[in-house]
Amino acid sequence: MLNETRREQLDKIIKRYPYKQAALLPALHLVQEQEGYITKEAMQYIADYLEIPYGHVLGVVTFYTMFYDKPMGRHHIQVCTNISCQLLGSETLVSHISKECGIKPGETSEDGTFTLSEVECLGSCGTAPMMQINDDYYENLTVEKVEAILKSLK
């Protein structure tokens, strides 16, 4: 399941803790980084690797919002809509992106390019409104800036 580099990484991480189970979140991050999302097979693989029950892994995957159990778009657009961003117009940004990409929050475009999500505070309130696309933060946004960013991704 995990390629060799990532498996070596995981082995190194496991050594940081007295119990293997503690490496569960890091292991799931590695799987998702490689596969894009976490399949049942991957959960079973991780369960076996860390010697914990499959049900435990499933419980953890479904608890944390950053773990996906289905494929996401190549660009996962996550717009913060919490207070500070809301005060500075995040709603407008969401509806604009929604229109541009032809998807509602929670949906993935048919060609698999974009997934749009409304997310909770990302700790960028001083540079609101903002969004995160995959691992990167985009701050101090305006409709024009968002348009340019989307264009560069298409």
Binding site: Y19, A22, I83, L87, C125, G126
Partner: protein, 422 residues
Amino acid sequence: MTDTDIKYLLPEIPELHKIEVYEKEGGYEALQKALAMKPDDIIEEVKKSNLRGRGGACFPAGLKWSFMPKNSERPKYLCVNADEGEPGTFKDREILEHNPHALIEGTLIASYAMGVTTAYVYIRGEYVKWMKLLEDAIEEAYAKNYIGKNIAGSKYSVDIYVHRGAGAYICGEESSLMNSLEGERGYPRVKPPFPAQFGLWGCPTTINNVETLANVPVIIKNGAEWYLKIGVEKHPGTLLYGVSGHVNNPGVFELPTGVLLTDLIYKYAGGIRDDKKLKAVIPGGSSTPILRGDSIEGVRMDADSLIEAGSSIGTGGVIVMDEDTDIPKILERISRFYHHESCGQCTPCREGTGWMEKIIRRINRGEGTMKDIDVLRDVADNIEGNTICALGDAAAWPVQSAIRRFRGEFEAKIKMEKTVAA
């Protein structure tokens, strides 16, 4: 030098994140000094300094450290809480980006003082960039033997590891953080037992916020007496105030505790946008009670002053709202957040946060009744104090305070609908 010029968390020194620059500026001298001290003396010094936690609860850090058992056969752990997630809070990432070695040095001193052999930095999953920056800094510190075996020529050994979260606000709560680190769902634990007795894997553990630990090096280097002179004596030091919302110049400002809230808004954050009037302020992150704009004259930003004003310093994340702000709409968003982030363990919180969101949404849609306001208040009152962790309180306070201080706005929405219907 006036009080407001003291900046030790975010001083204006270019490239301070690099270990060579940090050392040139006197970095890691406090660690050397600490390693020559008795661990108990360090804890005493931090106790004397009145350093209070910067994660929201203001708990005295030295006292927390003193709860750790002295002669433990089990390993002891320190968790650094970098799970910054309280809406309106964006300060710890500034330390991680611009002054990570202050955090590392503080972590090392704290670890030595408590006899900790492994420290974990639990960082929120979305902070990928800041996680990498911190990992680079940790690597530099390992290379210079500040972390690892027999650090800085002493007999003391310690490791620091970064552990990435996965998008759950609740994991900023200390017992939930430990569960998450153990590879569990992020459920808070019933206390007692407290982490110092039964923490990570049942071993003695202390959890401190990033900013709290970043304060430790200056306390050890300059002494508690020096530190006590900064800001308010009962809650001394500088704070990283994050000001966001309807201000001209939002951002993080390092200033002493006890600064006037009005100064923070008008002097440092440049005042309200478009010269509008101030309607409301949330002074310490979304869970802290909302204040009316016309009630903040003379209110100071420290633990006691804000309690007196009917709110809380929280994380120092100040959210500013101008006269056009629709308070019930803001409250709906806040309640949606706590509903989403409730872990679901305790019935009052799991069910109550959902009901609060539903009722406020109903009022905002014009489908509310006058009775809804009292029901809302009632639900909030029944969550507060009836849950395992503080998320329940955090969800209740904004609702209680918004109704108490802006009741008219809720009533107006309900009455307006009645008029339209008639």
